[in-house]
Assembly symmetry: C2
Homo-oligomer: 342 residues x 2
């Protein structure tokens, strides 16, 4: 069966309409015939269902650049997995924002009104702005043409931890931590602030606070450092010295998490900024942390390679990967990403 | 028991020498007495073995900045693990390059001639130049004062894969891959070049090469693209367009690995440049890949946070993390890092 190409649309006759559209969800009715997007035609050529488009076989059609090869690879993969799908670039497909492919639930097609996934196709070398993510599945094609699907979402991040630190606990500001001598036991045990200097002892004689914990506590009047000037300025200055701009972004996210009832602790071992506990009643009965949080500016451009690394690592330790998108105006938006097998 | 501090050296008398040096490996004999480095004195103060140094107790001594708090934390941790160790900053300790602490094997001490680990103490926020690594253990102290030990080495990277590609296999250069139609079966099956377009079929009808594979093959006369000009230039240009300078560095490392009998494939899913197979006889009997390779310039400064992430991810998939340090002069040095529990 042959077809013709004109202005980026492939057209074929009544038999093609019956076999390709009516029976298998390709293209859109066009009078008696059918119109097909280039990626659909490429797939039909690849399968041998179409013989030629304007005399071009599959090899010539793919090499002609009418159809981007990345789109073809993802289209083919999703068809192989049993889905019907439409490229959003076609005139007859509704707008789906930044998605390139709209995938229907298994057993459904373009004539139904249901969508399983909106898929954006990207090379592993491309970058994707944070603002594009949250309601789309990224299909990342690596340099050897393997495809990884990453589902993005805008989750609610909240918890039920409820602890108020006491006022003016005394502490000493060291190089890049704060030491509390004889702190109130609940500060660590119920608030999960700091790390005991000696974990073997039965009572906590000295508690080490990170600078971000110290900055949060000092701002809430819970910590008194007895510095020469203003305690808050002293901690912020030390934080900015060791971390630069990142310190303020991390402190904003730390604060937002604490205010949402979630306890953030360092995520260093996982390459993240924080790991979080949604419900701390007591450190001695702590469950596993649920989220890994990485703080990025809200205009961050994600490299799919780094995104895949974060998601893989989080999956390996059974945590959810969440990005805190910190706006210059103080807002924080949450963005999650996880591996998807369509 | 009291001691005095002068010019960065703590001195105490005969009883201190017997109890601290002779019995437990602190400091160095000094006439009848003993001299101690500040970090050793801090540890003795912390344990209550020393009462004061120039009137300072542990809190005052640590806050006086005589002893860096990071060094104290690592010194204490290694003592807690049952090791005797010496700070290299002390006059009486031999030079150990960039190491801060020299750790003796369990049961041995400064009076023996054996070394278990040379340890460099770093904050997670510091950076460490690649040239400093390879014969040292990094003790990375995170913001909450937890310590991760990373052992670095200069491994030999070689394998026994032996396959010569045939000459002038024809292919088409697409957007960022090369497609081979009807390639010789051995190219994939024994050479492990490329990725079949369709993995279900029994024969490989089309093979997708990454640009770095294509550049290597075209340079060795194994690939003919029939481009308008010079095939090699065409692939290199495409590679530099999509990856910039990284492409040339990655191609150099790819070439070095192939020439050493090791097969590199993309490491994208692991956030690395390559995963490698040391001994490919046949793809259908492939064992797991052994190394994850990340390519960096040889003047790269490692962030301990990123290093820990790479090492953790490699460990999670039972592979060894190796960095290829690519010099501007074409040399490649191999650097490995792995988690250590002293």
């Amino acid at each position: 069966m042959d077809a013709t190409l004109s202005s980026g649309v492939v057209r074929a006759g009544r038999q093609a309409r019956e076999q390709f559209h009516d029976a298998r969800g390709y293209g859109d009715p066009d009078g008696d015939g059918v119109r097909l997007a280039p990626v659909e035609a490429a797939h039909l050529l690849y399968r041998g269902d179409l013989d030629a488009v304007d005399g071009m076989g599959f090899r010539e059609f793919l090499a002609s650049a009418t159809c981007p090869d990345l789109h073809f690879l993802v289209y083919k993969d999703l068809r192989d997995r049993g889905f019907y799908l439409s490229p959003t670039g076609a005139d007859w497909v509704a707008d789906h924002g930044i998605a390139d492919l709209v995938v229907y639930p298994r057993g459904k097609g373009p004539w139904d009104d249901e969508v399983a996934y909106r898929v954006r196709v990207v090379s592993e070398r491309a970058t994707v702005p944070a603002s594009d993510l949250g309601d789309v599945v990224l299909a990342v094609v690596d340099e050897e043409s393997e495809i990884t699907y990453l589902e993005t979402d805008r989750p609610d991040v909240s918890g039920s931890t409820d602890y108020d630190a006491p006022d003016d606990v005394p502490g000493s500001l060291l190089d890049d931590r704060v030491l509390l001598w004889d702190p109130p036991a609940a500060l660590y045990e119920h608030g999960f602030y700091g790390q005991p200097l000696d974990r073997d002892g039965e009572t906590v004689e000295a508690l080490q606070l990170s600078l971000v914990e110290a900055a949060f506590l000092v701002r809430h009047g819970a910590l008194a450092l007895g510095t020469d000037g203003d305690d808050e300025s002293a901690v912020l200055e030390r934080g900015r010295t060791v971390e630069g701009d990142r310190f303020d972004r991390r402190l904003r996210v730390y604060t937002a998490l604490r205010e949402a009832g979630v306890v953030p602790k360092t995520g260093y071992k996982f390459g993240a900024d924080f790991r979080t506990y949604a419900d701390v009643e007591s450190v001695s009965e702590l469950s596993h942390s649920e989220l890994l949080v990485r703080v990025v500016p809200d205009d961050h451009e994600f490299a799919p390679r780094d995104l895949a690394l974060d998601v893989r690592l989080a999956g390996g330790v059974r945590k959810r990967m969440v990005f805190a998108l910190a706006g210059a105006d103080g807002t924080i938006d949450w963005l999650s990403a996880e591996r998807l097998t369509p």
